[in-house]
Amino acid sequence: MTSLSRPAGSFREIARGRLADPDLQATFDGVTGRLKKHRLATWDGLEDPERLRSRAYEIRMRTIDDLERHLAAFTEQVESRGGHVHVCASAADARKTVVAIARSAEARLVAKSKSMASEEIGLNTALEAAGMQVVETDLGEYIVQLAGGHPEHIIVPAIRQTASEVARLFEQVEGAPVSPELQELGQVARRQLAHVFRTADVGVTGANFAVSETGSICLVTNEGNAGLLTALPRVHVALLGLERLVPTLDELAVLLQLLARSATGQPLTSYTRLVNGPAGPGETDGPEEFHVVVIDNGRARLRGTRYREMLACIRCGACINVCPVYRKSGGAAYGPVYSGPMGAILVPLLTGLEHAPDLPHASSLCGACTDVCPVKIPLHGLLLELRKDLVEERITPARERLAFRLWSLAWSRPSLYRLSTTLARLGQRLAPRVGPGRAWAAERALPPLARRRFRDRR
């Protein structure tokens, strides 16, 4: 079992709380709006963005169709340079593998850079249970860790914390007052984490991509924390989602042109790093051990399904920033790791639809997500497919299924259809006051029906 899902009904509950909080509403609107604006600004710098998107889609799908071969080639390359590859079928396997690597390194302190895969498998809890101290080094993740919460946005984990809240969290570590002034907060974080970089025994990073031709993993950050973790600790463990392989460096270049642009609106982030193995001979830094932990956790079985395109996702967050539902509900409603349209699809697919039955409905199906996806995943189409599965697998409540069956029966008979339009006209004053009509009309207007039906006009 992964740590991805939430009980049914919680989406509505959490989202309601968020809707009632005007400060949070302003934050979600502000941040997603700015990220969207930045993305649009760099997008124009590309010569032919549509061609690039199509090429990216083609690269992703071709690789996913042939994952075994690419994984084998990647493994061979990594091992030829003295690295190790561990393929883990489940979240539990992946946790066990990383804990075992850290144990054999006799690690006391594990430093991490941002990795959604790590959140997905619940790694921190497992390392802590094994007696190790775990510290997140991405500023947003560090704040979230100190606050004891979960990331609310895959690109901006601490989207909801204000500078004053961050100052209070830093004060607990500092044991002294911290000013909420922005540059001061940056300096305090730098100081608190510098010690972590220097003394960590194991560095755990994610992997934005892995290149099978060369056995490289690729990491992008703006802060430089991932780079430090691939250089200073004795052991480097990179967590790689099984589907993030790319055949060649040339194809990696295509995806890198899209990733940072879609995420933060930069042509490239400040740091793009390729790691091709442990420290080379004569090198004065770099780890003695380099491990890549490849996480399947439900991914491989999606390849044969009509959801296979979801495996193309490069975790840029562009769909989240344009989603009218996310912009109101925030990330927590979707669960602790993935949110927005990509989360509403990925979480049910990875955990089972019955564990996240409300997520396919967390969408207006406006299609903005599909429009911005840099790898052309038909996101809102997949949400619709998931809704179909909810009905076919009888996860949708029996009453709702019955209601739709009756509706469909009635409207496939002209006499009952006519009767229903007559009743609708007569009943439209009553509808907002009783039953489901009342719940609907509480927050929006029911569209008025014409006094005379079109068919009655002569």
Binding site: T137, Y271, V275, E283
Partner: protein, 127 residues
């Protein structure tokens, strides 16, 4: 693209990425880390640093100020040309640096110099 155009494009984009670009003479900055860049990328204004016994992986991330020395003749158009020109086997690690360390994780406001340097220089060495 001619060599002059490539150079001019590199300088423009490096400055956009908040590098300070110098021609020929390295600035005198006490305590600055200095790296020799393998390549520059004109499209993004990036410097490419390859790990080797003389170039530790973390050098460009330590300290508040970092200087990269880049021969003008080593400037390439973009990522794709860089990846095509890399000799095999690849260095143990390769870093493509496009500006200072930064974060917008608090209220989406920019902090410069988080874990890495806040001030980054490129010194262009004529061919």
């Amino acid at each position: 693209m001619s060599r002059e155009e490539l150079l001019e494009r590199f300088v423009r984009n490096a400055e956009k990425a908040q590098f300070r670009v110098h021609r020929g003479e390295p600035p005198a900055i006490e305590g600055a880390g200095v790296s020799v860049a393998l390549h520059g990328l004109a499209d993004t204004g990036s410097v490419v640093l390859a790990a080797s016994p003389n170039e530790p992986r973390a050098r460009h991330l330590l300290g508040d100020v970092h200087v990269s020395l880049l021969a003008e003749s080593r400037i390439l158009p973009d990522l794709a040309t860089l990846f095509a020109s890399l000799e095999r086997p690849l260095p143990s690690s390769l870093s493509i640096v496009t500006g200072p360390s930064r974060s917008a994780d608090i209220e989406q406001r920019l902090i410069v110099g988080l874990h890495g340097p806040a001030e980054v220089h490129i010194v262009l060495l004529p061919a």
